[in-house]
Amino acid sequence: MKDDLLKIKDEYLWDPKSAVADRDPDVAEIAALERSLSRFRAPGAESLPLPEALWADRGWQTARASTWRGSLAIAAVLVLTVGGVWLSLGRKYIGDGTGWQGARIAGQPHVDSEPVAAWFRLRTGQILETDDASRARIDVGNIGEVEVGADSQVKLLEAQAESGSLGLDHGTITALIWAPPRRFMVQTATATAVDLGCEYTLHVDADGNGWLRVSIGWVAFEKGGQESFVPVDAMALIRHGARPGTPFYEDASPTFRSALEEIDFGTVGPSEVEERKTALATLLEQARKRDAITLWHLLGRTDGTELAQVFDGLAKLVPPPSGVTRNGILAGDGHMRDTWWDALGLRDTGWWRGWKRDFPER
């Protein structure tokens, strides 16, 4: 028994469902040990119910409080009421075009170089700044919130109850927005991140380089009419002075990502032509079906021979639907590009073009 008992299979130990106990003598022995030890197992919740006193205890704390505790409670209620009214007034104030409410999360953030209290008002035009030990939250009217990370500088550009925008000079922000698309924007020196109903993190360093990473929904990243549509689990790089990076899924291979970075931000010159050709060939070779979104964006960012290569690469992953032709794409037909997008299995163009109609540029 000794040897059998001691030979334990790691996989069975990790997950008993992964091995069939009765077909493996080693596993069967450890299963016997489990059965033996199961006598010490917790009884079911039915056999060990939570005592009623648990709930009575909560009530007891208020119902049977002593007189001075009662007075204290009344005082606390008054404080809460006054505080609630103040907060309520504050919330009315916030979102009327003059500012939003903020809260200190850690350390000592500053607004226009003045240290802020636990709760504060951030007026339009003011700059919220954090150092390496501080963080803050901004309530985006009634539609979301933004956490401002350490070493960040953010300017409030517009503050309505249902919409608004921030300017991110440098640092990291994480936005969680529950409004319809295009109600909240973040401007950086490179491009503007437009919320399409989502959660995302945007980071820009002091040199103007950074990234946008989407964890829920979609974000449009725009500059000068050029857009990147970044879906969940994807990101786009930011380079100072360059157009928004082409979106790619985070689980794309390092080779793919490196090749895309070369295509997006590599120096363009006679000596770099070969490098760019190699990068494009590598990217097309490494592309998986879900990387079609990257290739689709490149249809609008390449021309000539490169565009033809991208067309062929994308066609291998997602065949062009009826009405989409090679000549049309090479000629820059936007309608055909949109039609092809619809075949990618993401939201159709009616949706992500539609939000522009519903919420025109302010």
């Binding site: 000794k2 334990i8 130990l13 199961s38 010490f40 917790a42 919740a45 060990l48 959660e199 929904g217």
Partner: protein, 219 residues
């Protein structure tokens, strides 16, 4: 995380942050989950995490049934963590104290996703308190009964052997071998990473082999 689980999680967080009224947020979150659940199937762990979040939010508003569900789901973990530290006969009483303390402090839990790790900390602290407050401190017996004789004696010997292991290995092995939780479940419930749980199981088992080998070798 699947898209559905992500949508559910998103809904939960929004209702928490947006300050919906009690009851509304659950209905809203569930409707969100239902409308987004047609395309993909979340894993069991993701579904349980989403359920946990909903129950934690509801329990904060005094929903007994929600807290009861949390109790049922986390009872084995809390019991196992206590069993790794205190005498067997004390573990059940302390389980209830841990949950009472958790209910009182639930409003201080900032991130519902951290519930398991938070509850585990309460359980560990309660076990420490047990020894600190006990006048006649009784540590777990070092002596391991000979692993021969009745099934009861052998089981006691095995449990005592596990209790001689370092804390991290002891906890994980008790959750696995006594409480019958799988490695993934242990990770989900305790907040440990799957990698840590796997390492604890592997190394703890190796050490248990040695101890059991000594006992069985003496037979």
């Amino acid at each position: 995380m699947t898209d559905t689980a992500r949508q559910i999680d998103f809904a939960r967080r929004i209702v928490e942050k947006a300050g919906f009224q009690p009851g509304m947020e659950i209905a809203w979150a569930i409707s969100q989950a239902e409308t987004t659940s047609s395309s993909s199937d979340p894993t069991t762990a993701e579904r349980e995490q989403a359920e946990d979040r909903a129950d934690i939010v509801a329990a904060r508003f005094g929903d007994r049934a929600a807290f009861g569900r949390l109790y049922a789901r986390y009872l084995p973990m809390v019991h196992g963590l206590l069993l790794a530290r205190v005498p067997r006969e004390e573990a059940e009483d302390l389980v209830q104290e841990v949950f009472m303390q958790a209910l009182r402090k639930l409003s201080t839990l900032r991130e519902p996703g951290a519930f398991g790790g938070w509850l585990a900390t309460i359980a560990r602290n309660r076990a420490h308190d047990y020894f600190r407050r006990s006048r006649s401190r009784e540590d777990l017996p070092d002596e391991i009964p000979a692993a021969k004789g009745s099934a009861d004696t052998r089981a006691l010997a095995a449990l005592a052997a596990i209790r001689r292991l370092p804390e991290a290995y002891r906890e994980t092995l008790i959750l696995r071998l006594v409480e019958g939780m799988s490695g993934p479940e242990i990770a989900t419930r305790t907040g440990l990473t799957p990698g840590s749980v796997r390492v604890n199981l592997h190394r703890g088992m190796a050490q248990l082999r040695e101890i059991l080998g000594e006992i069985l070798g003496k037979e």
